[in-house]
Amino acid sequence: MHYNFFIVNKIGLLIYERKFPGCAQLDSSDLIRFGATLSALHLLSAVVTPSGLKKSGLKIISSKFFKLCCFQSPTGVKFCLVSDSNTTDMEKLCKKAYQYYSDYVLKNPFYELDQQIRFEGFDREIEKLFAIKQ
């Protein structure tokens, strides 16, 4: 069961958020804080990995109650999925969402880069993607 899906751009602004049924709504200041915290954590974790290991940044946070998976595209846009602890294959879902982002958002002439995403086509595809996997 999925709780939330976020997209954070490379400067730390939250550009897309999606809440799935069964999850409490976060208020807008919390959401902004989440975006900034996530990108900061991602950067810090790349810095503090011991030398000798590959520095890729934050990938998964798992606990007894939830699992958070963060996938960073080569351009710095982070796709972050929060679900319950026994979900597998989260990175694959995030990668699929990245594909839809590059289609419905980047090829859309009415989208300005690094702004909020408010498009029906993208919403529809994200809904379809996460609904099937539930």
Partner: protein
């Protein structure tokens, strides 16, 4: 050992272009048109398509029709359906119909939502501009060059079949309104 030059290759090239490159280029065309004049987007896209239509006509007649001219409205529309659509989209998925009340209006209906509109959606709440006006311009250019002067507009399909798919993208209908001289000519040629 004779090397094959470009002159030996078949004239009938069947090259395919990647859809993504078309989408990026088209998205940039729309952004350019918006910068010129935001309210007249559809008209600008039509004007861009008109010279293309004339060139398509030459290409189709040379390649596929053996340089024969079409003289009736029905044959011309069949040329658009059977030759132009596969040339542009590699698929033959449109239906040609005549308008019920008015004799000079024909409609080309799409079966699937078309590629111009697939990713170009306006933010929620804004009025809908149809980016398939580009293709309407191509059709208009083709008909005008074939001496069937007409006005072609692209509208979203609001009919009963379209309502069944609420969540999907809307399909487009191209309304082709022929000028009077075309109908007069048709009527005269039918007399003989």
């Amino acid at each position: 050992m004779k090397k094959s030059t470009i002159y030996d290759r078949n004239l009938k090239l069947r090259k395919e272009v990647s859809a993504s490159s078309f989408y990026f280029l088209f998205s940039e065309i729309i952004q350019y048109s918006i910068r010129q004049d935001i309210h007249d987007l559809e008209k600008q896209l039509e004007e861009l398509g008109i010279p293309l239509g004339a060139r398509f006509l030459e290409l189709i007649i040379l390649r596929e029709k053996g340089s024969k001219k079409e003289t009736t409205i029905v044959n011309m529309l069949m040329l658009i359906k059977n030759n132009l659509w596969p040339l542009m989209f590699n698929k033959n998925n449109c239906v040609v119909e005549q308008h019920m009340d008015q004799e000079n209006i024909y409609m080309i209906k799409e079966i699937e939502p078309n590629m111009c509109n697939q990713f170009a959606s306006l933010p929620r709440g804004q009025c809908h501009m149809n980016c398939a006006s580009f293709i309407a311009g191509i059709i208009e250019g083709l008909l005008t060059a074939a001496k069937f002067p007409a006005k072609v507009t692209a509208v979203f399909d609001d009919g009963e079949e379209a309502k069944a798919e609420e969540g999907e993208e809307k399909r487009t209908v191209y309304l082709i309104k022929f000028e009077d001289e075309v109908l007069v000519r048709e009527a005269k040629s039918k007399k003989f």
